[in-house]
Amino acid sequence: MIYTFATFAIALACLYFGEYVASILPHLPRRALPSIPSQNSKGSTRRRRPSQHPLLDTLAIVSAILCYLIALILYFYTPTTWRHRAIFPILLSPPGSMLRYALSRLNAHYKFPLGTFLANMIATIVLAGVFAEQHRIGSGVRCNAMYSIQQGFCGCLSTVSSFAVEVRALKGWMKWIYIGTSVVGGHVLMLVVFGGVGWSKGYGPICTE
């Protein structure tokens, strides 16, 4: 209980802290921003639309390919301690982020931010299943793959920052329904999946050789 309270309080407080930091940081120079929507309507007819940056788009796509390449190279040529601790999780993290981005399209259609809710719940189910599995098989690469799915895929699929922003912006009862369903639902899913496996099959120690 105090854990959930502390996490939620930290999330909301840091959201305001970030906005405070933004208020004291200097602004970016206007000339560096080529196509910001300007206030006067005369000038706005001539400026470019925000979407016209094909060069930057291409750069983004190249960066994605390069990132995967570098991560794969690092995976095969680095010491094994790093590999399992850091490189394997980051190989699994982009699919989580992409899935969350795809789900976030659902947010606009309902009063309830369904996309973020679904992303969080799917991540919790996957993590509960993987965590339960990790207690039952106990060694080697499979164990580290389980760790990577937890830290990489589930960690990037689920989000607290969007959750905090949406909680802050929602009005009335919907706010409390959203907090309640997310937090209670997450705990119940952990209980059902992780606790269920534990009670029916029992747990061994984690990841022993």
């Binding site: 854990y3 996490t7 930290i10 959201l15 639309r49 960066s63 994605a64 981005y101 996957v126 990841c207």
Partner: protein, 163 residues
């Protein structure tokens, strides 16, 4: 906003552009600030949105792992994942406050909010550690009241095999 667009003649372009600072949709855009920004989403641009997430989520995941490792030490007064949650939410707040400046190229806004901030924070670990505290999974000797109120955590590093 629509009157501005119709005055200028190029109504569709203007309607798309001026959605950024339309006061009538401010409450909605406040709620859905993490949504992809309203724009004419071409396939190429959508691909850019998705591919910028690769770099963002890799960086965010590394930051989370690093912060968790830095927060895990003997005698830690706060649970390690709290650092990640705080840093991620601070980045989210910073990016939202500077949305007007970041939006010149919409994927960069996606990069900071949907990518970096949301990858650093994690809801699933929150739920997992909360559940473990409720269930007293680590078997601390304490009365039932403390299962509900207090919490203990087992660090993620303990789960890593030493291969």
């Amino acid at each position: 906003m629509t009157t501005r667009g119709s005055q200028d003649g190029s109504s569709s372009e203007q309607a798309i552009d001026t959605e950024y600072d339309d006061p009538s949709t401010s409450s909605r855009s406040q709620r859905g600030n993490i949504e992809p920004p309203p724009e004419d989403m071409t396939h190429y641009r959508l691909l850019a949105h998705y591919s910028i997430l690769v770099l963002a989520s890799m960086a965010g995941c590394l930051v989370r792992l690093g912060l968790t490792a830095m927060g895990t030490y003997a005698g830690a007064s706060i649970f390690p994942i709290a650092w990640s949650q705080g840093v991620g939410c601070a980045i989210m707040g910073l990016a939202l406050a500077r949305k007007k400046e970041l939006i010149f190229w919409p994927p960069i806004f996606t990069f900071w909010t949907t990518g970096v901030a949301a990858s650093i924070t994690t809801f699933s670990t929150w739920m997992e550690e909360g559940y473990l505290a409720f269930a007293d999974f680590n078997g601390y000797r304490r009365s039932g009241f403390y299962d509900v109120s207090h919490s203990q955590w087992k660090t993620a590093d303990d789960r890593l095999s030493t291969v």
